[in-house]
């Protein structure tokens, strides 16, 4: 990357906000997923919308590839690439407005997910998508990844909560996607943009829907002697028509990791699996639903079903779930938090298959996941400095992904493809479908400079043989 570009960017954002030295760039070499290290050539941190637009235009003028990044909590190796300009957006953290009457907020991309919910609380509202990283991850990153979370079972994922976006395209044009003041007509470019993993442009502001805080919540903890029994309870609850706000499963390995940590939530350590279930909404009828859910668990073989009696107990039960990944950090130096989805009826068979694959590759898999959605998170703790162990982890993950595809599922439900899942895209999609994805990307980013090399394997693209790679 040329010094001229660095000087140009410094003129826009100030010298302190441009990093060039290898030591300074080190923090930006990886994200939340171990195993990938990519070094940007420089990093730039605009502080305002205008600076961001100017930076993107300067990058366009010089033909520099770039990667946008929020808090760097991504779990697919999405916000890193070698030799690019890293465009850090965490300084754009203004909540521009909250409109209580219309239950929405306009925020800059660097606003932290949980910060928005905290700000919305005085209106009796919250931002519903709640990834486990919500105390750190940003709305811009959530939009890029179409992030989910436990409570998306009832309330929907990021896509369902974005009303409109102002975006600067990689070429420097600023466009509005969606319609903040009414229906959006015609091609759903907003829907196409959400989850485009930074390949279509950079969000300048997002108008998002806020959800009313429920009048009442019931949190249930059911413990089971087998994963299979817990999975059957999940099926029975879903089939009943009761829409749980969240329906989470943790297996024995996860339970024990949590209980051995500072996040100990009082989970039964001798259980093979637990279900953590939130029911929320109007108080009227909620206890009836809780009673039925409890009965479904018991009928499926639950040893006990406990209901949190106060908000403190509820918070404690949930903290164990949300911090489960952190708890696993005590056990090993690195943790792969995987992400895949299978049809809900395939959960028991898939969990068995995952166990078998782990045993065969001599890696220990623990599962903590959104059972109500069939969204698995098989996690493997390991030491990434050990090449043999890393290879075994990689092989096991590959087999797990293939098993999910074979079961009619998908390779990611909420973390994105990034770098980590590129290899599986061809097993999931046909060549014409991958080509169509490339063609769509090309519309937003004709030079393929925004987050280059992500989501779709380059050789799947129609232009691969015809066109040169992005200008360097």
């Amino acid at each position: 990357m040329s010094d001229a570009l660095a000087a140009q960017l410094a003129a826009i954002v100030g010298e302190r906000r441009v990093l060039e030295r290898a030591g300074e760039l080190r923090s930006y070499e990886s994200d939340g997923l171990p195993g990938y290290q990519k070094r940007p050539s420089l990093a730039v941190f605009p502080g305002t919308r205008e600076e961001t637009i100017s930076v993107v235009r300067a990058l366009a003028a010089s033909g520099a590839p770039f990667v946008a990044r929020g808090a760097g909590t991504g779990l697919s190796g999405g916000s890193l690439a070698d030799g690019v300009v890293l465009l850090g957006l965490h300084r754009l953290k203004r909540i521009i407005s909250i409109d209580g009457d219309n239950a929405r907020a306009v925020v800059e991309p660097g606003v932290v997910n949980a910060t928005l919910t905290a700000a919305a609380s005085e209106y009796g509202l919250h931002y519903a998508p709640d990834p486990s990283s919500q105390t750190a991850c940003t709305i811009g990153g959530n939009v890029a990844e179409n992030a989910g979370g436990p409570h998306c079972l009832k309330y929907g994922v990021t896509l369902n909560h974005v009303i409109a976006l102002t975006v600067v395209l990689p070429g420097g044009d600023v466009v509005t996607l969606g319609n903040a003041e009414g229906e959006d007509d015609g091609l759903d470019l907003l829907g196409a943009f959400v989850g485009s993993e930074g390949c279509f442009g950079v969000v300048l502001d997002a108008t998002v829907r806020l959800v009313r805080n429920p009048e009442a919540v019931r949190t249930l903890l059911a413990d089971f002697h087998s994963v299979d029994a817990a999975a059957h309870a999940v099926s029975a609850i879903i089939a009943s028509g009761i829409v749980a706000a969240a329906l989470e499963m943790m297996d024995a390995a996860t339970i024990n990791a949590v209980e051995a940590s500072i996040y100990a939530a009082g989970y039964p350590t001798d259980a093979a699996a637990i279900l953590l279930i939130d029911l929320d909404g109007a108080a009227a009828g909620l206890d009836d639903d809780a009673g039925r859910v409890s009965a479904f668990c018991t009928a499926a073989g639950a040893r006990s079903v406990r209901t949190a009696t106060d908000p403190a107990e509820r918070a404690r039960l949930w903290q164990g779930r949300k911090k489960a990944f952190g708890a696993m950090g005590r056990i090993s130096s690195h943790l792969v938090v995987q992400d895949a989805v299978v049809p809900r009826t395939k959960l028991p068979a898939m969990l068995a298959a995952i166990g078998e694959i782990g045993t065969r590759h001599r890696v220990s898999v623990c599962n903590v996941f959104h059972a109500g959605d069939g969204n698995l998170h098989p996690n493997i703790g390991y030491n990434s400095d050990d090449p043999d162990e890393s290879a075994r982890v990689h092989a096991a993950m590959g087999e797990i992904m293939q098993a999910c595809i074979d079961a009619g599922g998908t390779i990611t439900g909420e973390h994105g493809v990034g770098l980590d899942k590129l290899a599986y895209m061809e097993a999931l999609f046909t060549p014409p479908t991958l080509r169509a994805m490339c063609d769509l990307r090309q519309v937003f980013d004709p030079e393929r400079r925004a987050n280059p090399g992500k989501v779709v394997p380059v050789h799947s693209c129609r232009e691969w043989h015809a066109a040169p790679a992005a200008r360097r």
């Binding site: 219309n102 009414g182 091609l187 390949c199 009313r212 028509g241 809900r344 069939g374 937003f444 779709v456």
Partner: protein, 385 residues
């Protein structure tokens, strides 16, 4: 157009061959399922038709997964009857008859009052197969309820009116039927319609009892549904305790009576043939004022209106018989200056009134070119070549 002859459905490859053949011979194609939307008047001049009416049938329905995959020509009635047998439903109630196809519903992103609680087709479609304007068979999304693998071609195709390709198959998210599903009709009485709408809007913002649907109906429509004067139709689902609390709460809004069994299907099929139908939308907080204006216009022109309160959408229906074209034109112009208008059906001369330009139009044209470079599929729709 008649429904399919009932023969074996064509494969997507056969349909793709037809598109490739049309492209090679410089033909253009109008995509046609049940043919319901052809009368929408949206200007599209084509030299041929891609007929999907025979491309019917449910491909896969796994009740335990609450997902269903059907070919595009499958009727909404067939899907409703298959899912009802398992205590499930597709919580989507677009206007029109049940003979309408799932392919057209998704392609046009059609919805009805249930969208208040369950969203529009983009919130129900998990995956789709479509034949693009280049004759490629593209399989986007999947059959699971959560999926972020790859760029979202599903959302892109949903509501694209076939301009990028012909949807040949869709996978849908179903829901289990609630224990109780009840509709109450609250009479507006002598209250001014804006004041009543404002009261309903406030109540919806603050009540914990979120309805499946809350639809204001203007007097003419209310009469068709068996009620005198304007009304609010409230639909609730949940368990028995919830339904009983909801009924109590509805009573605080005004005189309430139980709706007749067919109220929602009657609403969905209320508009006269050939009517001008469009939706006016705004911020939900501005809905009461918009409701007053739009419903007065509609009733004044011999039609009717209904509004989804929490979504800020008023649907206006004006018959072409007996209403003055100039008055209709003026009414549309007046509304257009204060809100967003989306047209469902109108005569070819009225369509241009609903066009708007926006900052992303170059992108839209680019997407069209990427999927249908020669403008084979439904050319002219959505203002795309």
């Amino acid at each position: 157009m008649a429904r399919g002859a009932g023969g074996t459905p064509m494969s997507a490859t056969t349909l793709a061959d037809q598109v490739r053949h049309a492209r090679a011979n410089h033909h253009t194609l109008r995509i046609c399922g049940a043919g319901t939307w052809l009368s929408a008047g949206r200007p599209a001049a084509t030299t041929g038709t891609l007929d999907l009416s025979g491309h019917t049938g449910i491909v896969e329905y796994v009740p335990g997964d609450l997902t269903l995959t059907a070919r595009a020509g499958t009727s909404l009635t067939e899907i409703a009857s298959a899912t009802r047998a398992e205590g499930h439903w597709l919580a989507l109630d677009p206007h029109g008859a049940g003979a309408g196809t799932i392919g057209a519903t998704v392609a046009t992103a059609s919805f009805g009052p249930l969208a208040s609680a369950f969203g529009t087709p983009r919130d129900h479609v998990l995956g789709c197969e479509f034949v693009s304007g280049t004759g490629d068979v593209i399989r986007a999304g999947g059959r699971v309820v959560k999926n972020v693998a790859g760029f979202d071609l599903v959302r892109l195709t949903t509501g694209a009116w076939g301009t990028l390709g012909a949807i040949t198959e869709v996978s849908l998210r179903l829901r289990a039927r609630p224990e109780a599903d009840e509709t109450l009709v609250v009479a507006i009485g002598s209250e001014l319609k804006e004041a009543f709408a404002a009261r309903v809007a406030t109540w919806m913002r603050t009540s914990a009892l979120t309805p499946f649907a809350a639809e204001l109906v203007s007097p003419t429509l209310a009469r068709q549904l068996g009620h005198d004067g304007g009304a609010l139709m409230l639909r609730w689902g949940g368990n028995a305790s919830f339904a009983s609390a909801a009924a109590t709460e509805a009573a605080t809004l005004g005189d309430s009576t139980r709706a007749r069994e067919t109220a929602w299907t009657d609403l969905a099929r209320a508009e006269p043939v050939g009517a001008v139908v469009f939706r006016a939308s705004t911020l939900p907080s501005r809905l009461p004022a918009l409701w007053a204006r739009a419903s007065s216009f509609a009733e004044g022109a011999g039609g009717f209106a209904h509004a989804s309160v929490s979504r800020g959408i008023v649907r206006v229906v004006v018959p072409t018989e007996g209403s003055s074209p100039d008055a209709v034109r003026k009414g549309i112009q007046d509304l257009a200056s204060t809100c967003t208008l989306v047209c469902e059906q109108a005569g070819a001369t009225l369509w241009p009134m609903f066009d708007c330009t926006r900052s992303s139009d170059a992108l839209r044209a680019g997407v069209k070119r990427a999927f249908d470079p020669d403008g084979v599929m439904n050319p002219g729709l959505l203002g795309l070549p």
